[in-house]
Symmetry: C2
Subunit: 198 residues, 2 copies
């Protein structure tokens, strides 16, 4: 007593296995794809395959790239002596969108999480330490403000400090435009601790 | 000053052109796809291409199918003398999920919308009228409760009535579990008009 035949169900199931796509969205997407011109679907499918097979990690910062070095590392106008450490490429993209950070990055591809069994050896820390053997002035730790992010930040700061390189952590506090009334206690306390003189 | 190279941007752009996927979700999906095993990405891509090329309209009800006739029409246990008219395959899927409707369907693939320039000739009405030449007891109009859906319902009822076949319209009213206080006036009036004796 199926509503659809195998092919449609297969497509819906595969789409629903992607992150952020529930069964309703998967159905909508599937029907949309089936209604698109054949050439458009083939184009999208081939873009996916090509991106998957050709995109790799940047040799310097582990950002995603289809060349040896990502556009940020390849840019001579960036300050290569300042390295911002982020958990994943989405975080890098978020800082790039501000358009104001002029240094380079290092993408860890994860955070230390004893709960999930992710140790220091499972993220791109060794690559970071190798970079620090070169000319580096500052390491800005911009891991998330979660338990895993904080653990990772602490771990990195302990590793970097003996090298004499300056280590900083991005500020925690009330988001701009945020209404104090709706903000959790931990954030409020962090904002208080991190207050600056006016 | 790009963050990513062409291939990654292409993938993000193509994903963002799909319905219900904004630029943030597109980025997340792209990074997810790039991190998947190559074989999984190829499988998804091929499923998309295969579904697009092989899925077509059911010869009887215009539902989507990869055979000549969809599973609902092919099921001899269904009541083929009762036809529910819906706007699109998603609506059909919604009624199938109830598991209680035993008739068959007719999928219009749209609704009459003078605003969007969609006339009666642009939806699958001719196919419906052809079916009514056979043995049909009732046409249940289950187009949406929007302006376009209502217009389409009125149009179909005018077409079907002269044939002597019973035409009905699904009820409008307060959704089950709905809180009266949050329901719009039009729906409240519809619910009042459609009240039934207890």
């Amino acid at each position: 007593m199926e509503t659809y035949n195998g092919l449609i169900n297969n497509l819906i199931d595969e789409l629903a296995s992607l992150p952020g796509i529930g069964s309703k969205s998967a159905q909508r997407l599937a029907f949309h794809l089936i209604a698109l011109p054949q050439s458009k679907v083939e184009h999208l499918a081939n873009t996916m395959i090509k991106a998957r097979s050709e995109v790799r990690y940047c040799e310097q910062c582990c950002n995603l790239t289809d060349a040896d070095v990502c556009p940020v590392c390849a840019n001579p106008k960036r300050d290569h002596r300042t390295i911002m450490v982020v958990e994943n490429p989405r975080d890098l993209a978020a800082y790039e969108k501000t358009g104001r950070y002029e240094g380079v990055y290092h993408v860890l591809h994860g955070a230390i999480s004893p709960m999930l069994g992710i140790g220091p050896g499972d993220i791109r820390l060794k690559e970071l330490m190798t970079r620090l053997e070169g000319d580096v002035d500052e390491v800005i730790i911009a891991t998330n403000s979660s338990l895993e992010g904080e653990t990772t930040a602490m771990y990195i700061s302990k590793l970097v400090k003996p090298t004499g390189i300056k280590v900083t952590r991005i500020a925690s506090g009330v988001p701009v435009g945020g209404d104090l009334e709706y903000i959790d206690e931990v954030t409020l306390l962090r904002a208080l601790e991190g207050r600056t003189e006016l």
